[in-house]
C-alpha cells in the first residue's frame, strides 16, 4: 500500500457515507498515503505464529437478570432528534430510493 488513489478514497467515502468535496478527496489521498506507508511495517513483524489480541483484557459475556427497569423518557430523547412525529423519529425515505 504505497499510495491511496483518489478513486479508492472516493470509494471508501461512499462506503462510510461521507460526502467529500473533490478537493478533500485529493488532499486525503496524499495524506493517507503518508500514513499508510508508515503503518505498512506491521505486516512484517506480524508472523502467522502470533495470535491476535483484540482487547487489552479478556472479554467475557456479561449477563444480567431479565427485569423490567425504568428507561429513558422517550419524549426527552425525541426532543433531541433532528425531526420527529407521533412519538417516532422522522427520517428521510429509506425504501424505494431508486424511485
Amino acid at each position: 500500500m504505497s499510495s491511496i488513489s483518489t478513486d479508492e478514497v472516493a470509494r471508501v467515502a461512499a462506503l462510510a457515507r461521507i460526502a467529500l468535496t473533490e478537493e478533500e478527496i485529493e488532499r486525503f489521498s496524499h495524506e493517507l498515503a503518508v500514513v499508510a506507508d508508515a503503518v505498512a511495517a506491521v505486516s512484517e513483524v506480524a508472523t502467522p505464529d502470533i495470535p491476535a489480541t483484540s482487547h487489552p483484557i479478556p472479554l467475557t459475556n456479561v449477563m444480567r437478570e431479565d427485569e423490567v427497569v425504568p428507561c429513558l423518557d422517550p419524549a426527552e430523547f425525541l426532543a433531541q432528534a433532528p425531526a420527529s412525529e407521533d412519538g417516532k423519529f422522522l427520517v428521510p425515505q429509506i425504501l424505494g430510493e431508486e424511485a
Partner: protein, 498 residues
Amino acid sequence: MTALLQKTALELADMLAAGELTSVELTRATLDRIERLNPTINAFLHVDAESALETAREVDEKRARGEKVGRLAGIPIAIKDNLVMRGVPTTCGSMMLDGWLPPYDATVVTKVREAGMPIVGKTNMDEFAMGSSTEHSAFGPTRNPWDTERIPGGSGGGSAAAVAAFMVPLALGSDTGGSIRQPGSVTGTVGAKPTYGAVSRYGLIAMASSLDQVGPVARTVADAAALQEVIGGHDPLDSTSLDAPVPAFEDIVRRVGSDLSGLKVGIVEQMSTDGFEPGVRAEFDAAVRRLEEAGAEIVSVSCASFDYALAAYYLIMPAEVSSNMARFDGMRFGLRVEPEDGPLTAERVMAESRGKGFGAEVKRRIILGTHVLSAGHYDAYYASAQKVRTLVQRDLDAAFAKVDVLVTPTSPTTAFKFGEKVGDPMAMYLNDLATIPANLAGIPGISIPCGLSEGLPVGFQVLAPAHRDDLMYEVAAAVEASAGDIPGSCPAKDWKDN
C-alpha cells in the same frame, strides 16, 4: 489570582473539612477566574455556574448539619466534553453535536455528583478526541497557559489548560493514545490513565473502545489519586468494567517516603534514542538520576515491539473510529443536513450530514479506518496490528518480570506552536509515541511534570503493570517529591499571575 486557587485539591478539602472555607466561596472564586481567563485560554466550551453553586450550597449545608460527606465534597471539577451530562450541552468539540442535550449522565459524572463535587463546566477538546493539540476543535483551539502561542496538547487540552491555569483544581479527561498524559506533559500538570476497565466508560462518547479510558487531571499526584478513588470501581453498565475494589490511592501516596531502595525502575531502550528533543531528554535523565540517588535501581529493558506500536495504533484506532462514528448518521440526534438538490434519500442525507458535520481529522480517520477494514486489506493491516498488540503485551510482561515500573519521557517535545504540525498528520501522530503502548496493553500510565526546557514543562511518564494503579501512583509521588522545587515540577509553586 487569589492564593486560594493555588492550593491543591486536597489542601482545599482539608480547609473545607476544618470549616475554614465554604464550597460556595471556593466555587465562586473558581467561576470568577474562569470568567476572567476563559476568553484568552478557551479551555471551557460551557460553564454551568448556577448548577455548580447549587451543589456547593448543598454540600456546605450538609457539612453545617454535621452530615458525613466525601473526601472531595465541595471541590470544583471540570469535565471533558466527551462525557455526557443530562441536560448539559455536550459537543465532543464537534459541529455534529452542537446544541445536543444528552438524556443521561455518564457513570463518572454520577460518581462526581454523588461525591458532592460542583461541576463548573465542560472542557474543550479535539473533535471526538482525535488529535494531539486541541487545534481540531470545531469551537476554536485552547491555548497553553504557559505560552498562549502554543498548543495545550490534545485531545484533552481543555481539561489540562483549565487545571494548569488554576481555573479549577481538578478535571476529568479521556485517554485513547495519550490524551490525558500528553496534555499533562505540555501544560505541566499531572494526568493519569488508569488500567483499562478500572474506571467506567459508560457515557464516554466512544472514539476507539478497546483503547479509551477515563482518568483524572490534577496538579499533584495525590490529587489525581484521590480523584481516581472517587471515579473508579465496578460499573454494571459497562461490560468491560473491572470487578475489583478501588484501593485507597490517597493513603498509598501519603505513605511515600524519600527512600526508594528496593524499587526497580526500567528505562525502555526503544524510548532512549532519537525522536525526543534534547531538552526533554535532559530533564528526563535528570529525573531518573534523582530516583537513583533516592535508592532506586535503574535497569535498562528492551521492548522491541514498541517500534511498531505507533503503526499498529494507527491501524486499530481508525478501524474502531470508523465503526464508532457510524452512529452519527443525522437520523436520531445531532446535525442533519439535507442535500441541496436531487432526491431526499436517507443515504444522501446521511452522507451530507457527515460531510458537513465532521471536521478534517475525523473524516481522515474514518476514511483510513474504513479502508483498512475493507475487503482485501483487513488481514494485512487490521489483523496484523492486532498481532503487534500481542507482541506489546508480551514485551511488557517480560519487562515487568524484571522491573517494578517503566519510565519514559511522556511526550517527545514540549508544547509546539499553533499550526506547526496541523497539516502533517504523521508529525502530529508521532506525539503519542511514548504513550500509545499503555493503551494497546491496557496498563496504567501517568505523566508528572519533571522540569522545564526553555521555559516549557517536560513530562515524565510512569507505566505500571495492569491492575497496579497503586504502584503507578506510589512511584509517581516519589518522582514528584524528588523534583522538589525545580521550576515547573509543580506549577502551583511557580505560577505567575496573568
